[in-house]
Subunit: 255 residues, 2 copies
């Protein structure tokens, strides 16, 4: 009666991917049992798959036996088109912006109803923030998020407005207020937040255009906006414009 009771609709491929995607920001090293549980697999099955993945270089093992993401997967991941192209093109502009402001600089795109951070520059003297490259945060609570939301399709805006979860006491939770702010973002060409994501941190962000489309948002985080908001906005706009122009020129062989 030794046998086989495969869960419905689970192909080997999906099992493999399930194992790989069991890793996340909070779980960068996992044990066999934990991986099996997170991927919904029997322990021996997980063990065999993990051994294969390890020998192929997709995963690696720590000295203590835990599994971590391997270098080969890092390689392949870097080839993902949108983040990489954006990063590559934007890089010099981000450095200039950092040099000019000494603030934390963010480049982000929209991923469904969240902001996905594609690049982050932070100096040692910058305001501490929660974002890291690859992390996702709510659209309504960050500067880059508001920019991306303001230029998102109506159904996305509706979905976000339907569940405005607070992060700090200053996070926007009223759909009407959000709507009017988004209109202002489109009109003014920039968005701001004041302690809506992190207490003690404010942000300014502008859209990055490629032709008519908004493909990304560029933002900075500072301690206060009182002093020189206008200077920051214009520095951001210059950088965003430069990125957009380089992006337009850079679409080699995309039909």
């Amino acid at each position: 009666m030794a046998g086989n009771t495969s869960p419905p609709g689970a192909t080997v491929t999906s099992r493999t991917v399930a194992l790989l995607t069991a890793f996340d920001e909070q779980h960068r090293r996992l044990t066999l049992t934990e991986l099996a549980r997170r991927a919904g697999l029997a322990v021996p099955t997980a063990h065999r798959l993990l051994r294969e993945l390890t020998s192929l270089g997709a995963l690696a093992r720590t000295p203590s036996g835990e599994y971590v993401v391997g270098r080969r997967l890092w390689d392949v991941g870097l080839l993902a088109p949108t983040p990489t192209d954006l990063r590559e093109v934007a890089s010099p502009f981000l450095h200039d912006l950092y040099a000019a402001t000494l603030a934390t600089v963010h480049l982000a795109v929209r991923d469904g109803t969240r902001v996905l951070y594609v690049e982050r520059l932070a100096g040692r003297r910058s305001v501490p923030v929660v974002s890291t490259v690859g992390s996702r945060l709510p659209l309504h609570a960050t500067g880059v998020g508001k920019v991306l939301l303001a230029h998102a399709p109506a159904d996305v805006q509706a979905e976000v407005a339907g569940s405005l979860t607070p992060v700090t006491v200053h996070t926007i939770t009223q759909p009407g207020l959000l709507r009017s702010q988004l209109q202002a973002v489109v009109a003014d060409g920039y968005a701001t937040t004041v302690e809506e994501m992190t207490l003690g941190a404010c942000s300014v962000a502008v859209p990055v255009h490629r032709d008519a489309d908004v493909v990304a948002a560029l933002g900075i985080v500072v301690r206060s906006l009182r002093r020189d908001k206008q200077r920051l906005v214009s520095a951001l706009k210059v950088a965003a414009h430069g990125i957009g122009r380089s992006l337009g020129a850079g679409d080699r062989r995309s039909r």
Copy 2:
């Protein structure tokens, strides 16, 4: 007689990984037939696996039907321990270094007998170079490569010295010359190249220590070394020292 003639030793997992790793720097978008060929699979098999991978978000399709690496894979790849931790820790030091030199800044580790570039900062006015993040270059033809090679085990040094392929007319091709240069690198604490990888580009690089081990190399690329080599070397050493100290402090929960 419809049947099954699976190649020996090919598991589904290895097929999946073969498909994913069929992508590289030069082939960031591939067609079905090309992928099947590169992974050594029958076209219908590749087709089915690719469809699964696409629906799972590991791959994506361009409007024209080609396959590209998906965002989910990018996510997972970012969790690979070594490159990410290094990047994260080194980031502020790299920016400072860039600000101080305006040169292209490289952070690299050794991957077998090649240099693996983990991070690159390039300004708009920097010397153009071939490296991108994730690319691998020969150890003997770059500044960071020489540093890593000088601190590599003897067998790696021997293997590299055994096949010194020239890149430019200035690339080192004599094992004896390489050996003496590597000794100098260890003694002096820095390495230089003069047009050995790219004509018109010189580089300086220093090791990044974590305790006694050399875990990475930090380098910059400039047009000429005549002018202020000593200033560059000391700027590099300061940054490398800072990175090493932060690394030592930053090894939370690694047994």
